[in-house]
């Protein structure tokens, strides 16, 4: 009797163990490797149009070239991607793939999605791969672009292409007013003086129709005055920082110049505004003929770094398109190789200047003569761009802290800044009150 019971127990135990093993196989997707054995492939998630909101005809050119390089090295590994996904649908498509467990092995991550994906653990931690790979040199990247792929001090993505924010200058107005283009180390004083001088009524109808600046908000002012708004993990806000007050006062002064007139981007397009902060990708998109005709035909324009505040430097933000690896990828090594070809291969990276509007994330490529030649040919003007400006702007760009409710927190700060500027009470006091409110929000 005892013997039979023991036997029964053992059989039950074995069935139970088998069931648990099945559970593990299903949970970890390990069963897929049985079915896909010998059929090596890497899938990549990509969108069809340009990241920089500009249409061009080369959507998959760089990727195809990268695949060619990869397949030369690993002829038995196939690379697949789904074509035809627009950038506006890309986030939804990628989310659906992630939820249904079919996400590609590596995929491009839009900067607005990066925090969410990193937070929910959809991205693979690349630190180990980076450490093990002797051929990988992080120093080759612009440090700001490289940091863009970090979340909670962990590298989750590699930068693919980037574009710094630069100040666009309407040269035609400056020439008309007899002013020189500011040099690369200009500051708020110079900026304000030019704005003050050009803000006027040119046609004598009593309404101001020529303005200094559009789109220069507290964000740019904070960045160039060395304000660090949040800590790295988004647990604390530093709105009460001493550098905040001058920036607020400066913005207030700039706004007052317009005497209540609400400037729109149309005013800049028509050539009535001297300055507008814009992404470098826009410069590259509209500078070359014939696109320049289409958008900014009535004036000559140029781009220079952002003006520096009394406590800061001539810096601004950087927008970066990253490539990340799926956490559940079954072919980590091949995926990593492909990622490296896309981000670290100089040939592929230099193609960014040919087929896209961004800037290569590799310093070596961006600073090369070949790139300079290309940019000069593109713009048709050898004076228009100093590569050093571009490289510096990228290198010194500010990388915003990465946490999940960053966008919401920025909205809160925006509310605070507007309320402080519109209000008449003591700025310092308001700063402290709002800072407390935002901290409360962050802790929630």
């Amino acid at each position: 009797m005892e013997h039979i019971k023991n036997k029964k127990n053992i059989i039950t135990g074995i069935i139970c163990a088998l069931l648990l093993i099945c559970t593990c196989l299903i949970y970890t997707d390990a069963y897929k490797s049985f079915t896909a054995y010998g059929n090596k492939k890497v899938t990549i998630g990509v969108f069809s149009d340009s990241y920089w909101e500009v249409q061009n005809g080369y959507s998959y050119q760089i990727l195809e070239d990268a695949i060619k390089i990869f397949e030369e090295k690993y002829p038995n590994v196939k690379i697949e991607y789904v074509s035809g996904i627009l950038k506006e649908d890309y986030t939804e498509w990628l989310s659906e793939q992630l939820l249904s467990g079919n996400a590609p092995d590596i995929f491009f991550v839009l900067s607005e999605d990066f925090n969410d994906f990193a937070e929910i653990g959809a991205l693979k931690d690349l630190e180990v791969l980076i450490e093990q790979d002797k051929e990988f040199h992080r120093e080759k990247f612009y440090s700001s672009a490289y940091e863009y792929g970090q979340y909670n001090e962990t590298q989750y993505a590699l930068p693919y292409e980037c574009a710094p924010k630069l100040m666009f200058v309407n040269k035609t107005i400056l020439d008309r007013e007899g002013l020189k283009i500011p040099n690369n180390e200009w500051d708020w004083n110079e900026f304000y003086k030019i704005c003050e001088k050009v803000t006027k009524d040119t046609n004598g109808n009593g309404i101001i129709n020529q303005f200094g600046v559009i789109g220069y908000t507290w964000k740019e002012a904070f960045e160039s005055n060395g304000v660090k708004l949040f800590d790295q993990r988004g647990k604390e806000c530093f709105l009460a920082d001493k550098n905040v007050e001058p920036a607020l006062i400066f913005i207030e002064k700039l706004t007052e110049l317009n005497s209540g007139y609400n400037i729109t981007t149309k005013d800049f397009d028509l050539g009535n505004v001297v300055f507008q902060p814009m992404s470098f990708s826009e410069y590259r998109a509209y500078k070359p003929y014939p696109l320049s005709i289409k958008k900014y035909s009535s004036f000559e324009w140029e781009c220079i770094p952002m003006p520096s505040g009394p406590h800061g430097e001539n810096i601004s933000t950087l927008d970066t398109l990253c490539i990340a690896m799926n956490k559940n990828t079954k072919s980590t090594q091949y995926a990593w190789e492909l990622m490296k070809i896309l981000t670290c291969n100089t040939q592929i990276q230099s193609e960014i200047f040919n087929y896209s509007e961004g800037v290569s994330v590799l310093e070596e490529v961006t600073k090369s003569d070949k790139t300079l030649q290309h940019l000069i040919e593109e713009s048709g003007n050898s004076n228009s761009l100093n590569l050093e400006i571009l490289s510096d702007a990228v290198e010194h760009a500010v990388v915003a802290p990465r946490f999940r409710i960053y966008d919401e927190a920025i909205e809160e700060v925006d509310k605070a800044v507007n309320s402080i500027i519109d209000g008449n009470s003591n700025i310092r006091m308001e700063q402290i009150i709002w800072n407390r409110k935002i901290n409360k929000f962050l802790k929630k």
Binding site: G13, I15, T23, L99
Partner: protein, 440 residues
């Protein structure tokens, strides 16, 4: 028992109810998740959650696999305490995984495990620690507690896919199922407690019965003792009566005869001296007869010569008597001291010699019998040989058989040979130490 049947029934209900509950939760989660994908609102879902969820179809499959393995584990029985501990830990581990899959929205399976454990060892001292351990686990397996330290996607995020009123109904059903499980668990525990109470009662009753029986036994024992006493008394009286009768019959009779005879002699002596002589002779005969009767009586009362003589003397006397009584010549030779034997040993030695002589004379018609008793180390050897008819096929009669049995009890043995006369040889191991040997 009726209640135990009910409790087992409750456990079966609990198992089924838990399966229904976890499967229900898994299905509404999976449906919600695939709904997000189908309606192209996956981004909304992703921004709400804290961890990439398990793929929709996997949720019910994993739940079934995990719950199935948990049920299989529950089915394993008859384990040692350590085995049971291991089993419970494994069950709780599976339970944790199961709860994880369904977003820690339901932990009733732990109650099932607790119910099962309670069933297996109702009397063990490990019951309380096990129960406390499992209850702690049950309390900690809560979404709100765990979400402080772990990234867990709450079930509400999945349910937000449904319209408000449907979501309320779905959640309501989940809560009803969960409460029902709790209720059944409570009923189960109450039944279990009642079973234990009735068991205790039964044991108490049995104990009482045992005590009663014990008391009765004591009484009976006392009565038996009294009866034994009475019986001994009766035997004494009977014995006395017998003695009285014997004395009356033998001595009384003889003495009466003698007195009557002597009185007659007194009268006759002067008249007829010859007749008196004859009379006296008759009186002497009566007296002798009386003595014989007395001897017979005494012999009947006192069974053996051994009772008052030691073995050596008893043997010598027996040999002497037999020689007087029969025409056979008996040679008795003893080369060792026969002191120090126990009563049983003495008895056997005596009986062997007696039986052998009787056999030789009765069956063998022997004229000469040789008896030799000697000692070799610590073995006593008795050798009895006659010149009688002997016996070709020795068939042990009652006497020989009885002798052999008794010898075996002492660890000795008996050999018989019947070809030439009859020879009996016995060997008896001597029990009383070695100091005698030195003396010899």
């Amino acid at each position: 028992m009726n209640e135990s049947y009910h409790s087992r029934y409750m456990l079966v209900i609990m198992k089924n109810l838990n399966l229904l509950t976890v499967l229900y939760i898994a299905v509404i989660m999976a449906y919600g998740l695939s709904g997000y994908i189908q309606e192209n609102t996956a981004v909304d879902f992703l921004t709400k959650i804290y961890q990439i969820p398990i793929v929709a179809w996997k949720i019910p499959v994993l739940v079934i696999c995990l719950y199935g393995s948990c049920l299989l584990l529950l089915y394993i029985q008859n384990l040692s305490n350590f085995g049971l501990f291991l089993k419970v830990c494994l069950e709780l581990g599976i339970c944790f995984c199961l709860s994880y899959v369904i977003g820690f929205s339901y932990s009733g399976v732990v109650l099932l495990i607790l119910a099962d454990v309670m069933r297996y060892f109702p009397k063990s001292k490990w019951k309380i620690p096990f129960a406390v351990f499992i209850i702690l686990f049950y309390l900690l397996l809560d979404y709100n507690l765990l979400s402080v330290h772990f990234k867990i996607t709450p079930i509400d995020s999945y349910l937000e896919y449904y319209q408000n009123n449907i979501r309320s109904i779905l959640l309501g059903i989940k809560n009803v199922l969960s409460s029902l499980n709790m209720l059944i668990f409570l009923v189960y525990i109450i039944l279990l407690v009642r079973i234990q109470l009735s068991e205790k009662k039964r044991i108490l009753e049995l104990n009482k019965k045992l005590n009663d029986a014990n008391e009765e036994l004591k009484q009976a024992n006392i009565r038996l003792e009294e009866y034994a006493e009475e019986s001994a008394q009766t035997i004494k009286v009977m014995e006395r009566n017998r003695l009285a009768r014997e004395i009356h019959d033998t001595l009384g009779h003889a003495l009466t005869g003698i007195i009557t005879g002597i009185e007659a002699c007194t009268t006759l002596m002067d008249v007829a001296p010859e007749a008196t002589k004859e009379q006296l002779k008759a009186i002497a005969e009566v007296a002798r007869q009386g003595v014989t009767d007395v001897r017979r009586s005494v012999k009947a009362l006192r069974p053996d010569a051994l009772e008052k003589l030691d073995l050596e003397k008893a043997l010598t006397q027996m040999v002497y008597e037999m020689q007087c009584a029969t025409s056979a010549e008996i040679l008795y030779q003893c080369t060792t001291s026969l002191n120090g034997f126990n009563e049983d040993e003495e008895n056997i030695i005596y009986r062997i010699v007696q039986e052998s002589i009787t056999n030789s004379i009765r069956h063998g018609k022997a004229k000469q019998i040789q008896i030799k008793i000697e000692r070799e180390y610590n073995i006593l050897k008795i050798h009895i040989e006659d010149n009688g008819a002997g016996c070709q096929n020795i068939q042990k009669g009652f006497g020989l058989h009885h002798m052999e049995e008794r010898l075996n009890l002492l660890g000795g043995n008996l050999k018989c040979k019947g070809e030439k006369g009859f020879i009996v040889e016995t060997q008896i191991p001597i029990r009383w130490g070695t100091e005698e040997k030195n003396n010899d």
